[in-house]
Amino acid sequence: MTRVAGLLVVCTLMLTAAPKTWADDKCFSCHQSLGDRASELFPRDVHRLKGITCAGCHGGNAGIEDMEQAMSKAAGFLGVPKGDEISRACAKCHSSAERMKQYGSSLATGQLEQLQASVHGNLAASGKEHIAQCSTCHNAHGIASVKSAWSPVHPSQLVKTCTRCHANATLMRTYNPSLPVDQLEKYRTSVHGIRHSRGDAKVAECASCHGSHDIRTAKDVKSTVYPTNLPATCAACHSRADYMKEYRIPVDQFEKFSKSVHGVALLQKHDLAAPACNDCHGNHGAAPPGIASVSNVCGTCHALNADLFSASPHKKAFDERKLPECETCHGNHEIIVATNKLLGVASDAVCSRCHSETQNVKGYVVARSMRALIDSLEQGERQAVTLVEGAEQKGMEISEAKFKLRDARQARLEARTMIHSFSSERFEEVVGKGLNVASAVSVEAHEALDEYVFRRIGLGVATLVITVLVISLYLFIRRLERRS
C-alpha cells in the first residue's frame, strides 16, 4: 500500500512539480556537481529530452533545493528502485497509452506484459525478482531510442547486449546449463554476422529472429524460432524482394520450401522431424552450405543415402565437375517427393541429364535397368496388395500375408535408397528380395481366393446332400406315419 501511495505521489509531483527549465531540476544540478555517472549519462537520455526529471523515476521534488526536503518521504522520494521495482517504475508510463500520448510517443504499451510472459520473465536464481528488468537491456540513465546508434538495443549494439549474459557460461549455467553460450562465436561466422560486423544494420541480429520483449524458449510452440514457426521468421526478411534487393539472392525460398516434401511435412503435418531452415543452414551460424558440404548437410538425416553416394562412382564424377551432390538431382528448397520418375532414361528422369545412348553410356544402361527393376517391384507389390485386399473383402483370414506386405514395402524403400549406390548388382539383390516377398504374398492371396470359391462350392455340395437327406427322411416319415 505504501508503495502504491508513493507511486501516486511521484506521478502527481512529476506532472505538477516538474521544473520549467533544466536549471530548475535541483536533483540533476546537485548530482552533476558531484560528477556521478548517472548525471553524466542523463543529459542525452530520451526521457530527459522529453522533459522528465530524476524525480520521474526516483520520486521526490526536483524543484526544492533543500536536499532533505526534496528527498523526503513526504515529497514521495523512492530512492533507487531495485529488482522488479525497476520495471514497475518504467511501466508507470510505458504501460499507459494515455501517458505515452502526452509525451508524443507511439510506442506499444504492452512491453512489460510481454517481458513477463517471456523466458526472461521467469523468476531469477535469487527467487526475489524476474530474470530481466527493463534496465537489463536498455540501461538506466542515458536510455536512448532504439533507433539511436548508441542504444544498447540498436541492431548494431544488440548482439553485444544479449551476449553480456548469453556468452557468460557461469551465469547461463544458473538458468539453463544445456543452453550453448557460443552463439556469438557462431554468429560471427555466419553471413549475417560477417555483414553485421561490417556495419550492415539490416542483417539479422538476435531480436530479428527471437523477438525483443516476448522472447520465448525455442521449445515453446509460440516461439518465433519453434521449428514450425521458423521458416516464416526467416521469410520475414528473405521473402521481401525490396529488403533483399541489395543482397542479390533469390526471395522465393519460402515459397519453394512450403511446397517441398520437407515443407509439407513440417508446416502442414507438423512433423517436427522434418527440417526447418536452420537444420540445413545452421541457426546462429547460418550460411548456405557450400558445394562440398551439401551431402554432409543432407546426410545428417539421410545418412545411408549419403554413405552410398560417397562410395559410388558418382562421387568422383560430381567432385570433378564441381556439382553439389544431393542438390544436383533433388534440388534444394523445392525438393519434391522422390518418385520413380527421377530414375531412368526418359526425358523427365534426372539421369538423362548426363547419360544418353551416346554419352556416358554405361550409366545410361544402368539407369534403364534400374528403372525397369523398380517398376516391376512396384507393380508386383501393387498386384499383391490388390489381391490381399480382394481376399480380405471376401472375409478370408489373410492377416499373415498382409503382414508380409510390409517386407515388400520395406524392400521397395531399401531399393530406393540403394539407387544411390548406382550399382546394378546391389540394386538387383534388394529388388529381388522384394519381388520374392510380393510373389509369395500374391500366391497366398490367390490361395485364399481359391479357397473362397472352394468354400462356396463345398457349401453347395453339402446343401445338396443335406437336402436329399431331408427329402428322403421326410418321405420316409410320411410313409411310416401313413402305415401306422
Binding site: G395, E397, I466, L473, Y474, L480
Partner: protein, 356 residues
C-alpha cells in the same frame, strides 16, 4: 447283420426292457407341439459345440501371448479350421437363442408345473451355464472387443457390496483383466462348465424320458377327449433328425457367408474402442444398467440393477414353486403377463442396445 448285432448286445445288456420302454413312449400332438422341437434342437446344438470345441482344442493355446495367434492359425492354416471355428461361434449364439425359445415355450405352456419342477430348475441352471459358456468363450480369442467387453462384464459383479469385489477378483484372477483371466476363463469354458453341464443335462434328459412330454393344461382339463399322440421312437426322433439336418445346413450357410471375424489382438494398454457392447444375449441387461440413474434413494444405480436382475432370475427359476394356481390346473394370468412382459422387455431393450 443288424439283427445279429442287436442280439449280440441284447444277450449281454438286456436291451429288451429299454426297447419296450421306448416303444411305449408317446409324444402328445396338439396345436403347440411345434415347441417340443426346440429342446431337441438345443441338444443338437450342444452336441455340435462339444464336437467343434474338442476340435478347436487341438490347436487352441490358452495364453495371453498365443491365444490370438492360435485362432489366426486355425482360421488360415488348419484344414477346415475356419469352418469349425465359425460353426462353433455361430452355434454358441443359436444355442442360446433356441434355449431361450425352449425356456419361454415351457414357461407359457406351464410345463414346469408339478411333477416337472426339477426338470424346469435343471433347465434354468443349464440356461445360466449357457450364458456363462458364452461369456467365458467370448474372451478366448483374446481380441480387442472381447478384452474390453470382459473388462466391462467383470466390472458389473464388482459393484455388489461386500461379496462383489472378491467375485470380481476371482473371475479375473486378479484386479485387472490379464492373461490370468484368459487362463481362468479357458479352464471354466472347457472343463468346469462342461462337467457341470453334462451332469445337469443327464438329469434333465432322464427326467424328460421318465416323465414324458408335458401336455397343455386344457388337454389335461378334459381327460375324456381323445388324445392324439405320436410314438417317440422312431417318429418324433426322425422328425427331430430332419430338423437337425436343416439346422446343420443353416450353420454351414452362416459359416460360409458370414465367417466369424477375429478382429485385432487385445492390447491392454490401448484405449477402449468406441461402442463396446456385450454379446446380444447380455444386451438387454447392459442397456437397462445404462438407464438406471446413478443414485436411486440410498442405493447406487448399478448395484440396484444387478440386484434387480439377480432377483428376477431367482423368481423366474423358482416359478414352479410360487405359481400354485397352475399346479392346481387353474389359469394364472399373472404368470402369462409376467412372461409377456419379460419377452417384450428383452426384445425391445436388445434392439435399442443393438441400434445404439
Amino acid at each position: 447283420m443288424w439283427k445279429r448285432l442287436y442280439d449280440w448286445i441284447d444277450q449281454r445288456v438286456q436291451l429288451g426292457g429299454l426297447m419296450e420302454f421306448m416303444g411305449k413312449k408317446y409324444v402328445p400332438i396338439h396345436a403347440h407341439s411345434v415347441w417340443y422341437y426346440f429342446g431337441g434342437v438345443s441338444l443338437f446344438l450342444f452336441i455340435i459345440q462339444v464336437v467343434t470345441g474338442i476340435l478347436l482344442l487341438l490347436y487352441y493355446k490358452g495364453s495371453e501371448e498365443l491365444a490370438f495367434e492360435s485362432i489366426q492359425f486355425i482360421m488360415s492354416k488348419v484344414k477346415f479350421g475356419w469352418l469349425i471355428r465359425s460353426i462353433h461361434s455361430w452355434t454358441a449364439n443359436l444355442f442360446i437363442l433356441t434355449s431361450m425359445i425352449h425356456m419361454f415355450s415351457v414357461y407359457f405352456a406351464r410345463a414346469y408345473r408339478k411333477p416337472r419342477e426339477i426338470t424346469w430348475v435343471t433347465g434354468m441352471l443349464m440356461f445360466f451355464l449357457a450364458l456363462a459358456f458364452g461369456f467365458s468363450g467370448y474372451l478366448l480369442p483374446w481380441n480387442e472387443l472381447a478384452f474390453f467387453a470382459t473388462k466391462v462384464g467383470t466390472d458389473i459383479p464388482g459393484v455388489i457390496p461386500v461379496i462383489g469385489k472378491p467375485i470380481m477378483v476371482f473371475l479375473r484372477g486378479g484386479e485387472d483383466v490379464t492373461g490370468a483371466t484368459l487362463s481362468r476363463f479357458f479352464g471354466f469354458h472347457v472343463a468346469v462348465f462342461p462337467a457341470i453341464f453334462t451332469v445337469i443335462l443327464g438329469i434333465h434328459l432322464l427326467l424328460v424320458q421318465r416323465q414324458g412330454m408335458s401336455e397343455p393344461m386344457n388337454a389335461e382339463a378334459n381327460p375324456h377327449t381323445e388324445k392324439k399322440t405320436m410314438p417317440f421312437f422312431p417318429n418324433f426322433l426322425l422328425r427331430d433328425l430332419l430338423l437337425w439336418l436343416i439346422v446343420l445346413n443353416l450353420l454351414a450357410v452362416l459359416a460360409v457367408f458370414f465367417p466369424w471375424e477375429l478382429g485385432q489382438k487385445a492390447d491392454p494398454f490401448a484405449p477402449a474402442p468406441a461402442g463396446i457392447k456385450p454379446e446380444w444375449y447380455f444386451l438387454f441387461m447392459f442397456q437397462t444398467l445404462k438407464y438406471i440413474p446413478g443414485k436411486v434413494l440410498f442405493l447406487d444405480g448399478e448395484i440396484l440393477g444387478v440386484l434387480l436382475f439377480g432377483f428376477a432370475g431367482l423368481l423366474w427359476t423358482l416359478v414352479p414353486f410360487w405359481d400354485r394356481k397352475s399346479n392346481r390346473g387353474e389359469r394364472n394370468r399373472f404368470v402369462t403377463y409376467l412372461g409377456l412382459f419379460a419377452v417384450i422387455y428383452i426384445m425391445i431393450l436388445t434392439i435399442i442396445g443393438w441400434v445404439a
